[in-house]
């Protein structure tokens, strides 16, 4: 696939949570191997939007989704949800390693639970994923220690490694740094810059500076609607919409 082609095409996406319409008629093209940030004030539907991209939104009993999301031209909502989630990985706001498992078993979880793999393949995947997540050097001597023995920032990188072990094409990150300190945040941001060479990234953040630092494209959501979607520099320096301008200049939100 050529660079700059659309990896995920979101078309007329509307999602409900109970009677509440969390996002409405979103149209957005996410480019291959770029970082797309989604910003907006609390409750604007950022999280709902990316949870629709790996079909996690619908795991909530009250949730409902309308519209389509195409991944390389295939509508996600016509595919098997479990298989979709193997192609579109996700990292959550709070680090959520499996507390009952070791570091090794956390990273190898997507392999162990999804198919039969040889020990060699599993070792290789764990090594690759931990290196990709810039965690290998910190854990190589205690790979069989419990995942919960790691610090918060390490746990979050472990979750990134675990997501990468599933070998996804797209990686969704839902405010991945909001529970972390500034140093851990800087590490994750460096990581994002590395990962975009191989993966398409979508990151939700309430931190505009973060979006400006890491994202190639930024989408601004307000009250469930997509207000503006532009290259990050344009959005922050030459916003087309007055709403965007008031938000990025801190007049509300």
């Amino acid at each position: 696939m050529a660079l700059n082609s659309v990896k995920m095409d979101i078309q007329n996406l509307t999602a409900y949570y109970g009677a509440n319409r969390a996002i409405q008629e979103i149209n957005l093209g996410i480019l291959d191997r770029k970082v797309t940030a989604i910003i907006g004030p609390s409750g604007c539907g950022k999280s709902t939007l990316i949870r629709c991209l790996n079909r996690l939104h619908e795991t909530n009993v009250k949730a409902r989704v309308e519209g389509s999301v195409f991944l390389d031209g295939e509508d996600l909502y016509q595919l098997d949800a479990t298989l979709v989630r193997r192609r579109v990985g996700m990292v959550f706001q709070r680090p959520n390693p499996f507390a009952t498992m070791t570091i090794y078993n956390n990273v190898s979880a997507p392999l162990r639970f999804n198919r039969r793999v040889s020990r060699e393949e599993m070792d290789a995947t764990v090594l690759r994923s931990l290196k990709q997540a810039a965690l290998w050097d910190e854990v190589k001597d205690r790979i069989d220690a419990p995942a919960t023995s790691l610090s918060g920032g390490q746990q979050q990188r472990l979750c990134i490694a675990r997501a990468l072990a599933a070998n996804p094409e797209v990686l969704l990150m839902d405010e991945p740094c909001s529970a972390l300190d500034p140093i851990a945040t800087a590490k994750i941001e460096e990581l994002i810059a590395q990962l975009k060479k191989d993966y398409t990234l979508v990151i939700v953040t309430h931190n505009m500076q973060q979006a400006a630092r890491v994202a190639d494209y930024t989408a601004f959501l307000y009250l469930g609607k997509l207000i503006e979607f532009s290259p990050t520099e344009d959005l922050f320096e030459r916003p087309k919409e007055t709403l965007t301008e008031s938000y990025i200049t801190g007049r509300f939100g």
């Binding site: 795991t59 479990t82 979880a109 639970f113 675990r162």
Partner: protein, 297 residues
């Protein structure tokens, strides 16, 4: 004024501390007394023969011939088999129902019905469980009404709601974020439920199973109805009349035979020890699991 209040507050606080301390004593006294009585009156009949001999036949010593002491071997054997068999019936059913209601039920009516059924079932007097199984088996095959199978079915009926409710509670303690983590990795719903959520909830579920075993091991009423009182030794199979410690404590304690009464006390001690031992072992295992998971190996 302010000083007065502070003093009053302090007095109240101390008073309440003393009262709640007393509550603990009041609870502990009967417990200690039960264990003490069982040990004092039961330990005298403990011997090698107590564990290996069949129950003594009723007998009156005369003409210088003493009666055989006997033991509670068939009752011990019977209780262990009853526990095993009733767990075999109730644990998969209870845990399965809990998985359905917590992991799959959601807002569906089925999930709420399971909780309701479990609550109603746990309110059913155990003797009624006995009557139910009695009639059920009577329709199925009158020849096996009085059997270990019937007994374990009755006990299973008592265990199912306990296992279901405690398993539900245990599954609910696993945070939603764990399920989402697994689902987001493309792990199927079923594997997420069984191999991640269930494994995490295992300590709680085991505690529930243990609780239900302790409860059913002590049940005598339904067994009185469906186990028969042959107490065969050795064990003759699950379709034959069986035996149980709890049942035998009742039979022994109400008999006029001093030897039987002594054996009943021994059986009581054995039953208490069995349940306590089981609970202790489970605690140990759980603590080890918890330590491993928390990471302070």
């Amino acid at each position: 004024m302010n000083f007065d209040r502070a003093v009053r507050r302090k007095l109240f606080s101390h008073g309440m501390t003393v009262l709640s301390g007393l509550a603990i004593v009041v609870i502990l006294v009967p417990l200690a007394s039960v264990i003490y009585t069982a040990v004092v009156l039961g330990s005298s009949s403990l011997s090698y023969g107590f564990f290996t001999q069949p129950l003594p036949v009723p007998c009156t010593p005369h003409l210088g011939v003493s009666c055989p002491t006997g033991g509670v071997a068939p009752a011990l054997e019977g209780t262990l088999i009853l526990i095993g068999l009733s767990s075999l019936f109730s644990v998969p059913l209870g845990v399965g129902a809990a998985i359905f209601s917590v992991e799959y039920g959601g807002e569906r009516a089925g999930a709420r019905i399971i909780g309701l059924v479990a609550d109603v079932l746990s309110g059913v007097p155990s003797i009624v469980a006995g009557v139910f199984v009695y009639i059920l088996i009577l329709y199925y095959d009158p020849a096996i009404v009085f059997s270990t199978l019937s007994g374990s079915l009755a006990l299973a009926l008592i265990m199912v709601p306990i296992v279901t409710r405690t398993s539900e509670e245990a599954l609910r303690t696993i945070p939603q974020s764990v399920r989402e983590a697994a689902l987001a990795l493309g792990i199927s719903r079923w594997k997420t439920s069984v191999r991640i959520v269930l494994v995490g909830a295992l300590p709680g579920i085991l505690t529930g199973i243990l609780l239900s075993i302790a409860r059913s091991a002590g049940e005598a009423a339904p067994l009185l109805l469906v186990l028969g009182n042959g107490c065969p030794h050795p064990f003759e199979g699950i379709y034959q009349e069986g035996c149980a410690l709890s049942l035998w404590i009742y039979l022994g304690a109400t008999s006029p035979d001093q030897n039987w009464i002594a054996l009943a006390w021994g059986a009581a001690l054995l039953l208490v020890a069995l349940v306590l031992g089981l609970s202790l072992v489970t605690r140990l295992v759980l603590n080890r699991m918890a330590r491993r998971w928390k990471g302070s190996e």
